[in-house]
Amino acid sequence: MTVTQLLDRFISVDLLRSLEIFCPELILSATVVLLLLCRMIGVDRRIPACWIALAGSLAAFLGVVVQLRFMQSPGLELPSDFFGWAIGGAVRGLAALFHLTEEGVGTPGPYFTGLMMHDALAVMFRLGLLLLLVLTLSLTVLTGLPDQEDGADFYTLLLGAVVGMLMATGVNHLLMLFLSIEMMSVPSYAMVGYLKGRRQSSEAALKFVVYGAGSAGVMLYGLSLLAGLFGTANFHEFAARFTVAMAGEPFSLTSGVVILTLLGVAMLFVGIAFKLSLVPFHFWCPDAFEGASAEVAGFLSIASKAAVFGALLRFATAFTGDGESIRQLTSYLGVGLAVVGAASMTLGNLAAYTQSNLKRMLAYSTIAHAGYMVLAVAAMMVFRSAAPGGLLGSRDPLQESVLAVEGLIYYLAVYLFMNLMAFAAVAFIRNETYREDIDACRGLITGNFWTQLVCVALLLSFASLIGIPPLGGFFAKFLIFRSIFVAGYLHPVLWGVLAIAGLNTVISLFYYFRVMRAVFILPRAENQRPLEMPGVVAAYSVIIALPIFLLGASPLQARLSETARAISASLFY
């Protein structure tokens, strides 16, 4: 097929639907352009850039809401009760506004000639990412991170990174995988170095850039190996091509195909592990987070992780299928992922111990949490490798893999709120004390009522990060641990990993509680006055912290769990 033919087909069949699905990205891109234009003609002196950015993000968010509604009920039927009817009507109106149709957004499947994939999983991840974008924007408005002069630049970068992230959730092609990861990386380099006056910030950005460039190089190498080996870069064809290439050879070191595949996958994984800050590709993370402002660090720690997890899920499912050799490959990769996860959480938790800087400590904490989350993907791989009626007994492997992915989605949903709360608290504390170390938190509880509220919200966030019931973090961890336990029947190594993960949960308690001790128990230093945070800061904290609690001890827990299951099922069925 020539390029012209391809182009013709693209324009005639696919383009309109693709653009519909691409609507949030398009809205964000338009907002970026608008921001730059405003700056050029000087409108930004009258309308602060943050409001334009916020409006754009909200529009994109609403667009995704409509998309989600289409995924749930393609025809947008109106429910009979009043609220359902009102909301349904509003969604219909929005759909008309964004020109979204059932044929376009309502039908899952590949778009942009198969480069991208549209399904419930992608829509849900986009929804979460855009929610985070809105929350981050509000946070920066609250803390006044970019000043009037730099606002447009900062929001341009932020929105640009989010466009890359949104794309990453739907990748279906090696090229798009690379592009989207780079698209989210490049603006984040600049955001880390955004505190221009500070040397530490610039230094962190430089480290981040060089490290990112190195890993991107390795990733490209792996990408070319895979594409060359299979003759395609489309995820959907990998499993079949692998089986063909193996041609009945045993899955062992003697097979060249196996070696090449593993080399390719491992090198590609380096790029992913860099974004997820998994050991041993985590070195940039503490330095970058320490140098970046807390708002940016919080955003990066959640958003880029979530987006890349979406991509990783798709990449990982590409290597699953029927056939003996592909099963062995899947199982092998799954166990390898689990080991990487175990190493990540152990190193992250141990290293977090001795930190005195809050952001650095939280950076190591995110390394550990990435370790927990990657276990879910590992469990999913191991389940997918199971032959029907094998060691799992009456359990259906496919259903179990759905449950594993459910755990990951649940974890990410809770992680969004709890980690954002932690970083937001750091930002609030910094604004009041101009410090970011643990000592700055001493006796925080002695402050005014709003400060106390923030303290309680921080407590909720940390308790949830540890995984204390009945908070959301507990259920998230529980779901993943459960999947790992069941997967242990297939591969006993996972039981060892589970033991390490359990031990890590205990270890993590100490460093989180060290901060809590400083906040709630230790007295304020002699020469420091009690803090007086503004009420709006406390309101923000309550809004962020409430879901941590609600996603644990309320009917919402069951709702989220069901939703997550339905979404993860869309990946497999």
Binding site: K207, S252, V270, L350
Partner: protein
Amino acid sequence: MSPEQFASTGAALKWLLGLAWLLPLAGFCIEVLGGYWTDRRSRAPAWLAVGCIGGGFVLSTIAFVTWGSATHWGAFAVVDDHHGDAHARGQSPDAAPAAVTGAQAPAAPAEHGHPHDGPPHGHDAAHASSPYAFALSGSFYNLATFGGLSIDIDYYIDSLTIVMFMMVTLIATCIHLFAMGYMSDELTDNYEDHEVHLPGGRHFHRPGRYYRFFSYLSLFCFAMLGLVLAGNIFQVFVFWELVGVCSYLLIGFYVERKSASTAANKAFVMNRVGDFGFLIGLMILWTWFGTFRFANTDPAQPGAPGLFQMVRDADGHIHEHGAGLDRAVVLNDGLGGAAVDAASGQPRSIPFWLLIAAGLGIFAGCIGKSAQFPLQTWLPDAMEGPTPVSALVHSATMVAAGVYLAGRFYPMFVPEVLLVIAYIGCITLFIGATIAIVVTDIKRVLAYSTISQLGYMMLALGVGGWFAGLFHLITHAFFKSLMFLASGSVIHGCHHVQDMQEMGGLRRKMPITAWAMLVGVIAIAGLAIPTPWMAIAFSGYHSKDAILATSLAFMSQNRQHFLLFLLPLATAGITAFYMFRLWFMTFSGKPRNQHVYDHAHESPWIMLGPLVILSVFAAVCAVGGEGGPLARMLFASEPTQAVAGAAVAGTVAVNLPGHALIHEYHTTAGIAALLAALTGAVLSYVFYGAGLVNPATIRSQLSGLHSFLIEKWEFDALYDAMFVRPVHVVARWAQGFDQKYLDGFLHATGRAVVWISKWDRKFDETVVDRAVNVVGDATYAAGASLRRLQTGRLRQYVMFIAFGVLGLFLLMFAFLPR
């Protein structure tokens, strides 16, 4: 009840009683949070608490009316048909013993309604003895679902629930009012505790805790009401523990006094022992039944039976097969057939011995909560709390919880378990009464009397007298709270003197208290004026009469268990003796301590008012005896099998008496009980009232027995030798082991972890940093302009990528199958 009617009545009752239940919690929250900001001298917390619990009483009363009109007052009408005849026959003194066919006499099948599986009955078609005819069950809120295990906040409302609600809220309201007066010396910023001696002969000073006391009381009422409203056994357990916590807080209210904190600990620990059994019972129930709900009476949900419906069919029978250890009980599906396991298709059943174990486990919890032998020792010590607390704990709430649960869970108890309950109750009532004879602390007499009376209730439940046990629970709650409040009034009037040997003649100083106390004494002693038609008596007579009639009927069927009648009968006499002893020693005769007498004064009206209200209820709450309204309310909830009686030829052959049989023995038992009580009362008058015999002489002649009783049957010493000291020995060993080996191990582990983290930090910072420094030095020499950017570190980082990739490869290929 038709499904629509069920739904509407259920919703109304659910919210009425639910609100009555939650009001005290709201009060508690407001008081706890608001306590910080209010003045310690404000009475507002007390008024708030009274308002909450009083509101609860009003709501309960409305609920009672709602329930009654929804059932067209069927509970009253139906009992009259069935029960009135038998009752009249049993009560008339000249009735010849009718043909007694024995306990096995099966009730006519037509008497049993099938309210939960047949087509909906009208209220008149349902029989009073069918337990679910007037019961409403449902759910407030689903807390969590783990696989098949669903943890819900359910409700189960039948006439027993409503009676308990009205009783608890009414008594608690009175006690709250009383406490407003009694605790008024806490209304200060500087409370001096005379019982706490500091070095240097000073007393302990602290801020008053008025609001704290009332917040605890509110929480206590919330817990107790939640327990009564609970619709599943797990929820009962939750509130059970909450009741335990509240009693701990209240008994240890004067926390600075060592005796109080020890007593609080003792009550808590003793209860934990019982709760251990409770937990085992819960595990068995969950494993074999898969549900915690009592019963599901919703006609809209057939085929989702609760525990009771699974164990017993509509007629109250248990279906079993096999023998020995293979003996098993077939579970019903609530539709008239056997429940079928979804996975295997086999009928579900539970081994008989496990059913016994579950019953005994749940009952173990009741033993702890209701202070039954062998866990009775915490209750007298619990007198360390303020007197209103004692009144609340010993009448309407904590100890009542045990009996209530035993009654609520009655359908799950097989006859073997019931026999254990009966004997436990029998032993307890005797021990409690004998100790009460010799105790001289006015509150402790009442405490031991409580133990004894609880024993009566358990005995009644055990010998098949479900109605008698719960009837006594309600009447006892009224007269015992009355007596406790009266004793509180005495203590308040005598400025915290509690020893009866210091009192005497107080009738002249505090007449209203004395008369109120006399009402309680007569009620508990069971004195009555028999007439050919009915006995003119206070409430206690009716309920005790019912208990003794049941146990006499039981004895007639099971001759070998004769103690189960004789001991309670003798104890009825002892009860009268020690209660009148208390009254005579306190209120009549000459003052023994002139100083105390001179300063004694009658309490204010805020304390006397509740006394008057409670005396009225103690006197007339059981009016009409077993034909009266209270009795009919209780009959409406009676489990089916308690009506007909049961013949059992199992591991232990026991015949439980049915209603018909009990009524045959009613007159005999009533006369015997009255004679015993009169003897006790007269003896008491001879000893303490008229002073014809000097008690000291008797005491010196029986000094061995006296000291044995004073030492509470040596139970504390026995437990000390049996448990405490061995535990100390083991603890010392464990401590040695701990210090030597475990600590060593832990320290080593701790050092290792610290070492690892240090090493890790070194790896992450020092090693890298040093490498950076080395490289940095090298760059320093090479170029000047870039040195500040620490390119060395960057190189190092990039190198780590390479190392990481290489390491990844090596690991991957090392483990690849060859």
